[in-house]
Symmetry: C2
Subunit: 468 residues, 2 copies
């Protein structure tokens, strides 16, 4: 364990009697095998923390409720586990405890095409849901890079490349089933598109990172598959001009569906990984949704704006296959970049700033990264003002991690000065606690702590996350 | 006081010493004049409740904080007051106390055009904000019928005719300043369009009806004024076909900006009030936003769908003035209907159902209303599945009120059976408490109560609302 890891308490072993009771209840769905526990004690964050004492593979809300009830009786932490793709240490057992693996909860419970909604168990992944929707004329819009579970995406208030047009999990979750700290089960929300009936319990759990309850079912909004889709790549002489183009497109109300920045380093990485042959300079990867005429009109307006900012003629991905290849490459940027430095780990940043401050935010960030000399890449959901720098560090060289963290701190504090947030879509976890405090202030953090104490008085739900 | 009014406790008089201390602090901004108190003890709901003991006219967050602190010291309820247009009894002093009139807090603090956001004091009204935005190329999209304050709209999670395209206050509030029960001040949110930094305190306060804190400043998203706008009226032989047309437009992903239903009664009322000469049969009032070509395309698609449902040829409102006249008339439907029965009051319903269940929901409602023989009208934000029936009752005839409440109860329970909500946009207040319980269930209400106790342990913030 790194002693700089925040939120780490005494990583207690779960009591033997609890493990015995869990074994009685769950049989072979309980594992204490070292390899299994270790697999559930790592995510994509660079933190190094002892694994949980046991893993329960849950198949139903009742399984989760029973597991929570047993753990509560022994004051033992419970941590929900989905795809394991969280980036800020959300699922690490910093105070020991039991991991509840929800991936066996992988059933799409209902698709109501005429109301454009679906209810899924928490372990369903976004690709799985979209595969099931393939012939429905609908799709689920939120797409973080990883094939995350919808439970995990809800818990971290995730978004992705489509958020500029379709919103984030905040806007796309209609209703939830949640297991509370005492093992009771609460339903929030209805199927209505809007409601002003009482406190917004749904939004209380969206983004709570497993610290207020364990999400077991999610009802999400679906979007109609657009009549026409066009994707284009546009290269720019520098990042600043690509960002300037984005800002102007957003301010002119162009209803762009996706607008992704990749810097030259990111392009080089995906070229190497996916053999794309893209020009190795900063680019925007765009997608337009609408009627055939509407898409044509949007594309023309976008090309016009891009040209004024020094952008190249658009290179079009005309077929679904070509588009799929491009977006897959974009989603692979993180993994592709990791492969450019064998054995490295990635410290990923995740600020979001008001769109008018995006250019200076990225510009100053790139200057600092260049001066520092660490390998890095930049990708961004720039239509939202959200971008990620990935610093590729050698985990065996503590100085590199420290340097990356210093760069991240500078970047986050710049975002806060500009009216932005320390986390656009990855959440707080272990990594952003100090920044959250700086962003929200003592008063707001005090309120968050009070909510936590109310919903989880014994502090067994993913303790040590968001705030310690 | 009607003994059927829910949430009514002992309407204590505020202690004389508190009034003295408030007078010292606020001077002429404190009023205990009977007429002033009575004006602050009524909203558009039909409840009859004694007025507050005093009214403090607040000019700043500090004023609100000081008033709350003083009231807290005397365990006296505080109730925020904006335009007084709430419909469910939200601002009635059911347990006595002091009304904080926030209408003097009417400054637009900042418009950041390039980030499409504005920060306003809570007493700014939606028309005032849009007037200030007139030359900015932007507008604020949320438009409940009344010229409500943005504080009140936030507190009730209001929406209106544009929600089908632009969302509700839930989606359009970025950040808040809130005075808590102890007089401390908390800021929630940032200027970033999205964030996953900690619990969603903003959404906790949106829709909390003054029971968790008093909202004093609101940062909202603005929308670009569309390049082109077209409004059209389409008459239908019956309500069912107007609704069928709406459902098909939504399901075919037509990005309609407004889609309002008025039944023949509502049309007759606005014709009489605004001299519109509309055909007195059910109609849809629609608006399309986009590029000139996009608007043309949407309008053609809508006309095609409407025709298939027996709709008339669209009558176009081509100029901003004609459009303004139409929408003003739509917003006047409530007041116009009141004038069709002199001396009446209106019991307004506010359910929202999944769009696929809207036709049966309205159909059965209309059958029941016709059978009951009370005058009524129907208007609806039908693109969202949200509609209102207004029953026009003689306040001197208790049987009429009872009949209207019976009809409302039947309507709400139907909505709940169909997967909908008891309140689409008016909130819970005094009126929907039993229905909220039926909708959310004991478990969820227990959680809401726990949140209330955490944020307001002494129960001084608008007590007796949402749950008693």
């Amino acid at each position: 364990m790194n002693d700089r890891t925040p939120g780490v308490g005494t990583a207690r072993q779960a009591p033997a009697e609890l493990l015995q009771r869990l074994a009685q209840r769950f049989g072979e769905s309980l594992s204490t095998a070292r390899a299994v526990c270790e697999q559930h004690g790592r995510d994509e964050s660079p933190f190094d923390v002892p694994p949980p004492s046991a893993v329960v593979f849950c198949r139903s809300t009742e399984d989760v409720a029973d597991a929570v009830r047993l753990c509560a009786a022994f004051a033992t932490p419970v941590i929900a586990f989905g795809a394991g793709s969280s980036l800020e240490g959300q699922l690490l057992a910093v105070q020991g405890g039991v991991s509840l693996d929800l991936t066996p909860m992988n059933r799409v419970l209902e698709v109501v095409a005429e109301d454009m909604l679906a209810t899924v168990q928490a372990g369903v992944t976004r690709l799985q849901l979209n595969e099931e929707l393939r012939h429905s004329g609908l799709f689920f819009a939120i797409d973080p890079g990883a094939d995350a579970t919808l439970g995990g995406m809800t818990a971290t208030r995730a978004s992705g490349t489509n958020a500029v047009r379709y919103g984030t999990m905040r806007e796309n979750v209609l209703a939830l089933t949640v297991v509370l700290a005492d093992g009771s089960v609460v339903r929030t929300g209805t199927r209505a598109r809007k409601s002003s009936a009482g406190y917004d319990l749904t939004r209380l759990f969206v983004g709570s990172e497993g610290t207020l309850g364990i999400i077991t079912e999610v009802t999400v909004r679906l979007q109609p598959q657009p009549q026409a889709v066009a994707a284009a790549v546009c290269s720019f002489p520098d990042v600043a001009r690509a960002v300037g183009c984005t800002i102007e497109m957003i301010q002119s109300a162009l209803p762009i569906a996706r607008c992704e920045l990749m810097d030259a380093n990111a392009v080089r990485a995906v070229n190497a990984h996916d053999h794309l042959g893209l020009p190795e300079q900063p680019l925007l990867l765009m997608e337009f949704h609408g009627s055939p005429a509407g898409v044509r009109e949007q594309a023309e307006a976008a090309q016009q704006i891009a040209g004024e900012h020094g952008g190249s003629d658009f290179a079009w991905a005309d077929t679904p296959e070509e588009r799929g290849r491009l977006w897959k490459a974009r989603h692979h940027a993180y993994l592709s970049a990791l492969q450019t430095r064998p054995g490295c780990r990635c410290v990923t940043t995740d600020t979001c700033v008001p769109i008018s401050r995006l250019a200076e935010s990225i510009h100053d960030t790139v200057l600092e990264a260049d001066a520092a000399g660490l390998p890095y890449f930049v990708v961004g959901h720039v239509g939202d003002g959200n971008f990620h720098v990935g610093y590729l560090i050698d985990p065996l060289q503590p100085a590199e991690r420290e340097l990356a963290e210093t760069l991240n701190a500078s970047l986050v504090r710049r975002a806060l000065r500009l009216g932005g947030t320390c986390s656009g879509e990855h959440g707080v976890g272990l990594h952003k606690q100090q920044f959250l405090l700086e962003e929200a202030g003592e008063q707001a953090i005090g309120l968050m702590r009070a909510l936590k104490r109310t919903l989880d008085p014994a502090g067994i739900l993913n303790p040590g996350k968001i705030f310690s």
